[in-house]
């Protein structure tokens, strides 16, 4: 199934979404506008002809100095149809990234949570509606987003030899409470 076939099915399911087939050497690539991302993902997962039930990964690429600068990339897998697809969402520039133009797809695949957190951590792309957008790989007090191309490769940073508990008791309890509420009412 080519990208054009996929777009044809998707156009019927998500009216008004302007999809665009991207160049690729391996499997279909589809450009999606951020406002149609969640509907598209839900259609991809639910529609019996598509059934992309497995979330593989989400990542981002910084194409500095090109505009649009960032692309958020999703890799999805349909085990039932032995098929893969790559979704790409263009993010105009750093300011747009920080304004949170890309919505989270956690409501479709719960596994998107951490990869999106990692993308925010590394590239500073805010996922709208993400319930837990904190640092994942970098320390909590880190400044900047190291995955960006304009972030220096080598920086000097004083070694931290001792640091007290990073969350206060109240924050910690609030976190636990929030997690519990989240689990009690998933999505």
């Amino acid at each position: 199934m080519t990208a054009a076939d996929l777009i044809e099915i998707l156009n019927a399911l998500v009216p008004g979404a302007a999809y665009e087939a991207g160049a690729s050497v391996d499997f279909p690539t589809i450009y999606v506008l951020p406002e149609h991302l969640v509907d598209t993902c839900r259609a991809l997962r639910v529609e019996p002809a598509l059934r992309f039930e497995a979330f593989i990964e989400a990542t981002a690429v910084d194409y500095l100095p090109r505009v649009p600068r960032f692309e958020v990339v999703y890799h999805l897998l349909s085990v039932a149809h032995r098929r893969r697809v790559r979704l790409k969402v263009r993010v105009l520039n750093a300011a747009a990234a920080e304004a949170g133009v890309v919505p989270t797809v956690q409501s479709v695949w719960p596994g998107a949570g951490w990869p999106e957190r990692e993308v925010w951590d590394m590239f500073g792309i805010v996922f709208q509606g993400h319930p837990d957008l904190r640092r994942l790989l970098m320390p909590e007090n880190w400044e900047g987003h190291p995955g960006r191309k304009d972030y220096p490769v080598q920086i000097q940073k004083a070694t931290q030899t001792y640091s007290p508990l990073e969350v206060s008791e109240e924050q910690f309890r609030a976190n636990l409470e929030r997690d519990r509420v989240k689990r009690a009412h998933p999505h």
Partner: protein, 393 residues
């Protein structure tokens, strides 16, 4: 009598904890011995390999990616090499593919041996660790034979292999393959029907097929829930479609099912290794014939000017890769091990992204341990087979 006041207790587990497989930190909220919630914290082993890779030439990334998942080093480099070769449009000769298959399966055995040893040790069968490490030592010796390195051989390169197989390779592999099935029976005799082991693992850390897919747990964890998805079957690479092997599955989705799936996988790996070693000739071609990527043979470098220039170019500037992006998955020991690379047409990668199976497994950990006992956390972490180097990169 006054009403008894109860409240939950919060316990910090890790990052320095013997059964967190490195530096995973879990904050557990306990009600007695029952886990109310778990919060994993990762990143203690983050070394910025993906950022570093952007500064290196294409071939120089191989040793870097091998250091991500340090228990399955050659799965990383195979996934990376295949991705770059996809963009370059290179096809490998049959013998190179067979050697790669053999190495990938030996790597799977080595990784599963560490999983088996540590998983069983954490549940209480301490002696398993020593038995497993003893067998793994033989695999490390094979690595040493082919590359001089035991952990990170960097033997798989973009464009083929580093060099031809050494003398004595077939004997070493055959000796291991003759010895190992008996050892597998020994391992299984200690664990598979062991009442204590089964009571600790059956019905623990259950995950359903739909959840496994939604959390991205494709690999042994999904296969323990009834999925038959295996990259080697669904999207064959390196000629896996020509090998005769079974994809073991189970349906319970608990720790014991994951144990059975991995054990059966090891037996299948032995079968694949036997087929591969019988196909590989002791001497033969070990790289593709594309002169853009593979340096010319040494005798030509010393006698022909063009060959000397080519050699010099490859070792000083590296090779360029056509602009574009590619995602290539392979079936690593921990599940789908993919590499997403982006090239801008230069001699350095624009972006290298590994798809880490351990990352997804740790993300799903809270949903697996919640409602279980605190002692089961250790069993679940072990059965998810997480490697923090893979998770944090």
């Amino acid at each position: 009598m006054a009403e008894m006041r109860t409240e939950t207790m919060t316990v910090n587990m890790g990052p320095q904890h013997p059964s967190t497989h490195g530096v995973l930190r879990l904050v557990l909220e306990l009600d007695g011995e029952v886990i109310q919630s778990a919060m994993p914290t990762i990143g203690y082993l983050h070394t910025g390999i993906e950022k570093t890779a952007e500064q290196k030439k294409w071939q120089q990334v191989i040793p870097l990616v091998e250091r991500m998942d340090y228990l399955a080093a050659q799965s990383n480099s195979l996934a990376y090499a295949l991705a770059v070769e996809k963009l370059l449009g290179l096809e490998m000769p049959q013998r190179v593919n067979d050697i790669r298959v053999l190495i990938a399966e030996l790597q799977r055995l080595a990784s599963h041996l560490i999983w088996l040893g540590t998983h069983a040790m954490e549940i209480g069968a301490v002696s398993m660790l020593f038995y497993a490490i003893r067998e793994r030592e033989l695999l490390m010796n094979i690595n040493e034979l082919i590359a001089g390195f035991r952990f990170f051989p960097s033997y798989i390169r973009v464009g083929g292999l580093r060099e031809d197989l050494p003398r004595g390779f077939h004997d070493a592999v055959n000796a291991f393959l003759d010895r190992f099935p008996g050892k597998m029976d020994e391992f299984e005799g200690l664990l598979t029907k062991n009442d204590i082991f089964r009571r600790r693992t059956e019905g623990v850390g259950v995950v359903t097929l739909q959840d496994a897919y939604g959390w991205g747990l494709v690999g042994p964890i999904a296969r323990a829930t009834g999925s038959d998805y295996d990259v080697r079957r669904y999207f064959p690479y390196c000629g896996y479609e020509t090998y005769d092997f079974r994809v073991p599955t189970a349906t319970e989705g608990d720790v014991y099912a994951r144990y059975r799936v991995r054990i059966a996988e090891m037996r299948e790996s032995i079968k694949i290794c036997r087929q591969a070693i019988n196909r590989i000739t002791p001497i033969g071609t070990w790289a593709c014939d594309d002169t853009r990527v593979v340096p010319p043979p040494k005798d030509k470098v010393y006698s022909e000017m063009e060959a000397l220039i080519q050699h010099f170019l490859i070792y000083s500037q590296g090779f360029t890769v056509p602009a574009g992006d590619a995602y290539v998955p392979i079936e690593g020991p921990r599940g789908e091990h993919g590499t997403y690379i982006v090239s801008d047409g230069s001699n350095r990668p624009w972006r290298v992204k590994m798809r880490p199976p351990s990352f997804m497994a740790i993300q799903a950990l809270p949903s697996l341990v919640q409602g279980g006992l605190i002692a089961d956390v250790v069993a679940v972490i072990g059965s998810n087979d997480v490697v923090m180097g893979d998770c944090d990169r």
